[in-house]
């Protein structure tokens, strides 16, 4: 390629890199440095190296939060990917009123998380919540205080997240579906493949890059889940829904323990990066490797 084209290439990438450098990378590095300073704000923050990380390793609250988060990430991303694929397959079809269906499917995601979380809190209320009304009708004595039980409260935040963001995964997967040529399906139909076989042997492999993208970005987001817990449960009952990022928030913002709070967030980052790397390794890093033919 001639040098001129190389310059153009850099010119094209540079604005994006500049934005990210100033408003994401620099804050990230700044935070990392902060995590190396004494966890409790004294008169002067003292450099303590990885002292905060050492404390984190021994912090039972953090351990619990981490396990809750991991469970949330695995459960919600799996469900969202499965439902998202289903949604994508549905709205990919051509039928009358597809636009309306598409808009309907996107509604959950278009509702701000803070509002959607309030809505689920409202729906799951033990007395005047719709979920109880639908399940038990007028038998109020059977009504369940969903958010009072530690396990059901955990299930509730997963449910709310899945409801809200499956369509995000669906859109990403839809984009992937659109580049699969129709002939591929026709060929498979001629070969006598059933709908399921067509999906499993043709759609799924060709969809892999899109699925990987969806999985990666959902994982990244799920690891940082915050609004949902903040609004719905405040981490309760008994820290059963306290995800790591909410713990980080409380430490950093409410308690003002800047060093330790940042340490928690940096750890979230490391965990996310590790899980993402694992996904990329397992699912194939085609996207990262592909070069112009």
């Amino acid at each position: 390629m001639s040098p001129a084209r190389g310059t153009t290439g850099w010119g094209m990438v540079l604005p994006a890199l500049a934005f990210v450098a100033f408003f994401s990378l620099y804050p990230a590095i700044d935070s990392f440095l902060l995590s190396l300073y004494s966890e409790f704000p004294g008169p002067e923050p003292a450099f303590i190296g990885f002292g905060n990380y050492a404390e984190l390793v021994q912090d039972p609250v953090a351990h619990q939060a981490f396990i809750v988060t991991l469970g949330f990430v695995l459960l919600s991303t799996t469900l969202e990917l499965v439902l998202g694929t289903g949604l994508a397959l549905v709205i990919h079809e051509r039928f009358m009123g597809r636009g309306v269906v598409r808009a309907a499917v996107l509604i959950p995601w278009a509702i701000p998380t803070v509002v959607a979380s309030q809505m689920w809190r409202f729906l799951l209320n033990d007395q005047y919540g719709a979920v109880n009304a639908i399940l038990f009708g007028d038998r109020v004595d059977a009504y369940v205080p969903w958010l009072a039980d530690p396990w059901m409260a955990f299930g509730a935040i997963v449910l709310a997240d899945v409801w809200k963001t499956s369509s995000f995964a669906g859109l990403l997967i839809l984009a992937g579906l659109q580049v699969i040529p129709d002939e591929t399906y026709d060929a498979a139909r001629i070969d006598g493949a059933t709908a399921w076989q067509r999906f499993w042997h043709i759609t799924f492999p060709l969809l892999k890059p899109a699925l990987l993208t969806a999985l990666l970005f959902r994982t990244i987001d799920a690891f940082r889940v915050f609004d949902l817990v903040f609004v719905m449960t405040q981490g309760g009952p008994g820290d059963a829904t306290q995800v790591i990022q909410f713990y980080g928030y409380k430490t950093l913002f409410t308690e003002g323990r800047v060093g330790y709070g940042t340490t928690i967030s940096v750890t979230v980052f490391v965990a996310t990066a590790m899980l993402s790397l694992f996904y990329i390794r397992t699912a194939g890093s085609k996207l990262l490797q592909r070069e112009p033919a």
Binding site: G6, M12, V20, S31, G86, V114, Y128, L172
Partner: protein
Amino acid sequence: MTNRPALLGGMLLAVLGSLCPFLWFVLTSFKSQIQVEAIPPTWWPDGSLAFYTSALVEHRLFHYVRNSVVVAGATTIIVLAVATPAAYALARLRLPGKAWILGGLLCVAMFPPIVMAGPVWQILERLGGLNTHWGLVLPYVSLSLPLAVWILTVFFQELPFELEEAARIDGCTTWQTLSKVLLPLATPGLFTAAILTFIYAWNEFFFALLILTNPDQQTLPVGIALFQGEFTMPWGEIAAASVVATLPLIIVVLLFQRGIINGLSAGAVKG
């Protein structure tokens, strides 16, 4: 094309699953205060519009909607303008270390926004960006760029190379190739990225709460969150506000999804 009953079933399930919880909110918004917290819940509302009056007049809902449209719109436009060339270069041009750039973007996207809020707040304070819309747009752009770049990169990679080569022989510069030949073909990708970005900016709460404390600038999520009183939970007003605030989004989605369909048919590039 595939079997109709399954499609119909899936469609119904998708629509019902997505809408039902929200429909409860719609019903709630037309209830009277005492009905909202009735035990057991009542299904059919009185048809009271009190919550709408309260949300629209007392809480100035439209003003928040307008702010959100401005912020989300500006974010989307800037993200597309910045992400498209970057994605094109990453997908098609030979850049040393492009895998690193893509990986790095992903990596940056992993950093929890909560911990970035402090430094971002300080940057904006220096730039005079606190309590301004552009001050919110800058971090939004940065935070939604990685996803947009990824989506568009995947999309550009799927477009046939021949078209680009034809364009180069026809005398297009790299920018012309992108704008005149590839962009029209990448519309599904562009619209997908646009919807994702717009809704991200529309939904974002945390930065908006920190950066905008002046009620004149506050966006919708903050606005609705502030409906909550010290000891009161105005479900009815929140429900009414959500219903009103979702309408522009439905319009945006209806407009954008048309783009996805159009792009789809144009995407049939091969033989």
